[in-house]
Symmetry: C2
Subunit: 352 residues, 2 copies
DNA sequence: TAAATGTATGTTAACGTTAACATAGGGAAT
DNA sequence: ATTCCCTATGTTAACGTTAACATACATTTA
């Protein structure tokens, strides 16, 4: 018992009071305001005073508190970022890009993963509670994710979308040109002489699914074909879903010589399904992906795919959000970046 | 000009003052303290008063401020988490697990990626500036990452490591049993009758590289073999590095019938290198990985590997950190979780 | 020479919340 | 009847920082 008390009191003594700006001021023989001016390099400070303050900071190991600063300035210099998951390469990479840019500008990104709609709601609440200066929303679905954000936007919360350009809301957005990417992918397969091209899409309610699909359909139409709805199948971006979708396609004896998968992971699942059913890629059936994940070039065969400049996308998103935070009247932008076709080994011309 | 002013003033009017606890108190006809008690469900509040306060909160759309709360409590309920990268599945998954657990307990994790040592330093500074209550360090390298953390630990900052159990520091840690995993992988290959097993490791200075290597060596020794240093090659966890390492091995005419790769991505690179040189996996050479990334079962061949319970690892890490935050005397723990061998298609018995 | 401007510093109050203490009525125990 | 405890609420001060204003001297301009 005595020992326990001793431990507790020792803990207390070790937890000596934090050094504050007042301690620094006293130690340097100036007012707190002068210390503040030195810290923020703002206003007039004589050089020798500055040195004295700096020395005091050094000596006392003073570390300013963002909390107290936020209290008075009303800005936290924190941005919220909500992604469906962190384990998807595309989101992770975008977030990395956004974090880098944000940190370069003195902002920190609070990242939260929100697999389902309830998570979006509670994350948004959490971020409001923590008084983020703005919110970066990755892959907002047309329906759900968006709903909880609306009241915030109306209250003036700066918001940037990635992956969905809103026609109605006063919100900036950043995304790849998914329609063009879908067009490029399909056109490439057409050039290789494929006549029946299946497509493996993401969830139908996602914007980028719809855009990539539109590109696919336009490319087909361009050569006079109508897209056959039976050759359009949906997945959920996972390799498993791609695998299952293609298995089903094969079981139903659908005929096709190429598959445009809307992401690489589903493409990998698709290839597996094809292999298991005795089809070689690309000799029997060609497969093209989307994303260009780092593993893509090491697969067998190396995956032909559309490269997305994800890190750059993230940087731009952060940039745009910060601009909007700093100036509420900053004009809204809808930024769209082109994807690039990367030819590797998973596509070829159909036999006969 | 007049228009501009009008816009600005409108913006100002739209940016009406935030509702504070005082407004709620006034509206409900009670003191702020009573509102605080309702919010925190702490102390005595009469039921009808509570209802009145709740109604006021609802009506005014009051949202409490974590910033102000932190100011007075000295706790931010934020935890810092530093990972080398977010794009590695293992880290992303651990972070997801940690975030979930943390959020369940009212904490929020600030995630930062720190590719190199300078980033670790600046991230740590940032987190101290933001007054996180504790820090979760993923994959701290023996040397560098650790250095900047030491002074913080000494000042009483709660810290939990993932992937490195410190013998000296009073820090809790959480990790997979990497030695055992390395042992299991190698033993499995030995059971399949492989006599010469190469190993593809991570960077030599990382703890988990060393541990997995130790398991590999112990398994060999167990069957009376010494490990051949020429068959131990280093990568940096990327598929590219695995590819290059195996290319080199082959160019140097090293003889082996199996490879134990310390992660799945390098294993994928290794398989590619083998294929390019005319070796089939597993018929000519077997490959076993580590991690069990979601793609592993869809590769050709499906990758045999060691499954790590990453999400659980993350949860435990967060749990441990929060326990330490709440009670500085909480006993330090070194948690080690076993990995599980997942037999798939990339390993077989050597011919002859 | 007086006024204006630039430089350097200090003082006061405020940001939104909770801890700590104070007050006060009602019922139970003595 | 007195004391004590439980319930319910209010008051004051504090957390660490900066905004806004005030002061004061030095230098330039009119």
């Amino acid at each position: 018992m005595g020992e326990r008390i001793a431990m507790v009191s020792q803990q207390k003594s070790a937890m000596r009071k934090r050094v504050t700006i007042k301690d620094v001021a006293a130690h340097a023989g100036v007012s707190t305001q002068t210390v503040s001016r030195v810290l923020n390099e703002k206003g007039y400070v004589a050089e020798d005073t500055r040195q004295r303050v700096l020395a005091a900071i050094e000596e006392l190991e003073y570390r300013p508190s963002a909390v107290a600063k936020s209290m008075v300035t009303g800005q936290t210099h924190m941005l919220g970022c909500i992604a469906p998951t962190l384990t998807d390469y595309t989101f992770a990479r975008i977030i990395e890009g956004a974090q880098m840019e944000a940190r370069r500008q003195g902002y920190f990104i609070l990242t939260g993963n929100a697999p389902d709609e309830n998570d979006v709601e509670s994350l948004l609440k959490e971020m409001v509670y923590r008084r983020v200066d703005g919110i970066l929303m990755l892959n907002p679905r047309a329906d759900a994710r968006y709903r909880h954000l609306l009241p915030l936007i109306e209250q003036g919360m700066p918001v940037v979308y990635q992956g969905n350009s809103p026609d109605t809301e006063p919100v900036s957005s950043v995304q790849c040109d998914n329609r063009d990417g879908g067009y490029q992918a399909t056109e490439y397969l057409l050039q290789l002489n494929h006549k029946t091209i299946a497509t493996l899409t993401g969830p139908p309610n996602e914007q980028c699914t719809q855009d990539r699909l539109k590109g696919y359909q336009q490319a087909l139409k361009h050569t006079g074909q109508e897209s056959n709805p039976e050759l359009t199948v949906h997945g959920d971006w996972s390799a498993l879903s791609g695998y299952q979708a293609v298995k089903t396609l094969l079981k139903e004896k659908k005929v096709f010589t190429a598959i445009f998968s809307q992401n690489d992971r589903m493409a990998i699942g698709a290839i597996r399904a094809l292999n298991e059913n005795g089809y070689a890629v690309p000799n029997d059936i060609s497969v093209i992906g989307f994303d260009d994940i780092p593993l893509a070039s090491y697969l067998s065969p190396p995956l032909t795919t559309l490269h997305q400049p994800l890190e750059s996308l993230g940087r731009h998103a952060a940039q745009l959000l910060i601009d909007t935070v700093k100036d509420a009247n900053y004009p809204r932008e809808q930024l769209s970046i082109k994807t690039e076709l990367i030819r590797r080994g998973s596509c070829g011309s159909p036999r006969i």
